[in-house]
Amino acid sequence: MYDLLPYLTALPGLFIIVLGCLWLVGVNLPESALTRSTKLLYALLSLGFGWLMFEANSFEVDLGSWFEIGSYHYPITLVADKLSIPFAFMTVVLAGITGTFSQRYLHRDPGFFRFFLLLHVFAQGALIIFLAGSLDLLVAGWELVGISSVLLVGFFQYRRDPIRNALRVFATYRVADVNILMAILLLHCWYHTASWDDLVRGVWPNLSPAIQDSGITIISILLVLAASGKASQGPFGGWLARAMEGPTPSSAVFYGAISIHAGAYLLLRAAPLILSSTLAQAVLIFIGAGTAIVGTLVHRTCTDAKTSIAYAAQTQLGIIFVEIGLGWTTFAVWHIIGHALLRMMQFLRAPSLLHDHHKLHAAAGGHLASTGAHYERLLPPSIQLWLYRIALARGFYDAAIDRFIVAPIQAIGRVLAVSERTSK
């Protein structure tokens, strides 16, 4: 089984290369061929990773190093343990479900091929994130997931809004990703390694930090910030609703199930490091708790199906962050799996909202229990209005970015443009 892991991990990538080559030489693959091979691919992968789920021991596969300079080398290793395999298994099963769903959903769409290609890019990225034995490798998957996510938000490329929002998501990802790159850089500078193996000791879930050093605090905080970017938390907590521009199945698998939880996975891996630093722990808990509270407030005022689920997801992600911050890592894994499945299903049937609500309304005899009344009962009107104001503006997140980041940058840009013109 050990030998099989690298092949399993690389299978979607291989598939992408084959598809890409076919595309390049101008082969117009019929929809059915594409979907059949997709289903076969994920069925195989599900079997493979399903088998590995029963593997009692954790193991590591060393694939050599990317490059070596003297004694310094970039190792490429895969790690299979009770943390990575369940995540990988869930990824391939849900990617397969998404492929099956999209076979019908995207039938006859001009972007059919593109969608499937991006789905495979995403699956490959996610598998790398979950199975990478080092942060060096993980970041490759991290970026694949990021870029496929952005391209799917902008899937309907002939309209303006998807592109604008994809750009916003992209910008957020870029800023957040600087943190993980910084973390890796510092790890290499200070400790000459970015392998999980060298950073943490023991077998999941009984891990302990392998390095005790004040530098770990900085690295942990950087990792927390990087994870926040993927999970739409804290300072990066405003993009999730914008990602709803893409087709429903990609919203489901990215923002309901896998991509949104990739940050939490990173934190779970790095948990021993984070937990060894009280400051990093505090930052993590603060980000999680803050996002959860704002998220639930915003969710309560959302009036459309997908945004409503997005903020509900963001809220639970906040709680998951808190759990990890408190060291409840096993519990967090359960929470992640349950949450991913739940949200995926909710996203996939989001267009049924009318149908469901109508049925519920009729079954309840025309009177659904009113919701949100306790705000009106418990709070004085001015605070009510203020909270509602915050929620309606989605926690002022977009406005603040626009006001304090985008507008000043644009202003500087204008000044520079003028000075450039006059200097000529």
């Binding site: 019908r104 521009e245 459309d304 945004t307 639970q316 359960w334 349950g338 739940l342 309304h361 229990a369």
Partner: protein
Amino acid sequence: MSATTSNHLQHLLDHAAHYLPAQGPIGVFIHHNTLHAFQSKTFEEAVTEAASIYHTEPYMAEAAYQAELKADRILPDDIRVVVESEPNSSICKGLDRHRLRQVMLLPGVRSIDASTVAWHLEEGDWLTKFRSDVPSTGDDKPTTLWKAIESRLPQPSGSQSYKPARPADAVLSLNGELLDEIVNPALIRLAGAFLDQGVAYWPMPLRELGLYAASRKILSHKRAIFPAHLTGAFEVFLDQERRALSAEQALREQLSELGVSEDEWDGLITAELLGLPGWAGMIHKLENEPNLAPHETVPASLMDYMALRLTFTVIALRNMLGDTKSWRTTPLAKPSEDHRLITAQLFDAAQLAGLSSTRITSLTADEFRSFRDEVLGFDNIQRRRLLHLAYERRHERRILIPLQKHRVDPESAPASDQLAAQVIFCIDEREESIRRALEEVDPQIETHGAAGFFGCAMDYTGIDDAHGVSLCPVVVTPAHQVVEVPAPEHAEVHEKRQLLRRAWAKLAHWDHVSSRSLVRGWVTSTILGFFSAFPLIIRILRPLAWAKLHERLVKLMLPEPKTELSFLREDAEARNAEGTLLAGFSTTEKIDRVAAVLGTAGMLRGHARIVCVLGHGSTSWNNPHESAHDCGACGGRRGGPNARLFAAMANRPEVREGLKSRGIFIPEDTWFIGGYHDTCSDEVELSDLDLVPASHAGILERLRNSLDKARALSAHERARRFEMAASDIDPEEGLKHVQERAAHLAEPRPEYGHCTNAVCIVGRRKFTRGLFFDRRAFLVSYDPTVDPDDGALGRVLGAVIPVCGGISLEYYFSFVDNEGYGCGTKLPHNVTGLIGVMNGFQGDLRTGLPLQMVEIHEPVRILFVIETTPARLMKVIKANPELNEFVSNRWIRVSTMDPDDGHIEVYRDGIFERLEGDEEPLPTAPSSIQFYQGKMEHLPVARIIPSRAA
């Protein structure tokens, strides 16, 4: 402020609102003419004017018509006839308008526009060789011809400028920024919260004050952050709040702030409303018809919306341009006319018309001017107009000629003493296939078509419904209430059922809310989240298995009581509790309703032993547009209860007795059965079978078997249109295929709906029986021989022309410009507020039909064939202004079929023209299946002759 100006403002808003989409909350989808506001103009004028207002397409693209020419869907003869049907005018010797237009359509001009002209001239072959598809004109050279034309054209005038219609135009020109992207998101958030029907856990506070007042209170809170371009919004709203302005006052202030004088309000208000037409339209709709709101009535007002919109606009303008009035004087440059583009168009036309460079040079000034004007005047829109007319002409001839041929030698219908059963369907064109299949399966069955509410306009409350709903065309307000009640012996079962449903609702609602909240969400997602894996995997991999499992579970858990309809009214004035509706129908009212359907269809005597009446609807998943597939005659709802009620009425002895005085004699052993046909899953359910006399058991069994076979055949015929169904499946597999579509979460095309509608035939079934109409014809049973005063005709057309015309036109517009008139692809749609769909997380409400519903449509105006004489028809049409508008302004195409000899006359601009020619064949086939199997395209009318196959 004087009362007159305030009325004036309201009046202006009402007037401008005509340009907004008229679609209500999407849960009840009513098909209507997308350009209803333009219906007082002729079709061609309206589409052109609307195209310039909405920046939409009036017809299909020219290339699409050219492709139809290549595919012989349009014939050269059609082009000739439509060109010659318009006035001619001489251009120069040997060339007149007709010939010029003829060649500009066929072989047709080459596509060129401002953005491609430079490329064609500099990189393409326009100037290196002549067109190869027209005969050459001697040893001319392209460059010589080009120069000859160019030298005769006047020098181009300088670029022109025009005034901006609204601030956004000026901002775009000055700053390159989109004002709408600042104003719209803020408005969408507020309007979405205001109109929400129950999605948000916390409904908008203070919304009973109206959109403007509530928003102002919420926005005038100090501790808040606005985007940079809305700096100062807080102060403005606070100021308005302190001065307690009404929406009207605020709107007037903003209008004067924008420097718009009163006589220009109209233009600005219209332009601003069209800046976010979907939301503005919904507010307008709910202002006029608050009861359309499915759950919560909200005090919607366009005045409120406009006050809010212009306040935001003024604030943004102040931030972006520094002041609020200068936008009016910003000149917007019109793209300068490219001299080369005009030359190129003349150059192409000269080649088509065979004008050489020497001819061009030798033309007199008048001749050249007239050539230029004719070419430039016959622009893209004019060319498409004629191509469209040609496209419709061929369609017309492909329907009418075979129909006339068939009329001469109709399929023999069973004599009344041989009838096994009669089945009355809705006129819906989707029922055409099952009707034909039923008659093919059992030749002793006869089918009829009547508008699917079967004359029973009612407010109906089903046993599981919380409230009554109108089951009748939208133009009718029901006056009668019908309630489904449990049979007395089943009262307990009913109670148990409702208790269980209440309990389920509580649980489901709790689950819905708790899975999304903070603390409860924590518990449920951790503990229960995992169980989502089962529905997730099974529903997507095996949708039919899940549907069956679900059905079985529901049957097991929820007892189903026997029910009956409470529709009898003994007391003349008995009303419902609120006193708004009459309880049920009195005997005379029942007789009226039964007579209206049977009399119109000519079913006066000799009824079969079983007469089955089938209403219809459609059930599908993940489909916000589900209601658009329901019965239009039932106001976008399901018509099963109407059919059941009709049957129950027709079975009453006192009704039958009364019908005799109306000339309708129903035999004593005739029994009526109501039922429901689901056009998505092709399920057929019959109701009240326990009441059917035992003597009818055999014949009922036969009918049910035939219906079962017919629905499988019909499903199979539907499946031929779906690419995902294999072409070699049998009827049972076809049925399974459509059932899977109905049950599948991922299916954006559960059915194709009215996608193929094109024709409506009003007349006796015996003249259409045995004809294959490819599910493209509404079939209305009407017998002109028993309608001496044309009263029935008036009633029938009064209902079917607006309904079928509305369907046809909605499909037309959503097809020719799916983004502009339709709602684009379904894939990114997001249900908002339970009232509509938008793209992404804060877009405009999308109205019209989605791409997936219209993709195989043929955009033709519906062709009516009415079995009557032109004189009788026009008497009826002229008597009804709405019908007159439809017909005179050519929103529908109309023809008559003579009741006596069957000759067809076609209405053209006020006169009827007899149909001549027989170039279109009437193919025959032994069965429908053998005619269509293996084909996916639209098929011509064919004659199905089972007997001659043997």
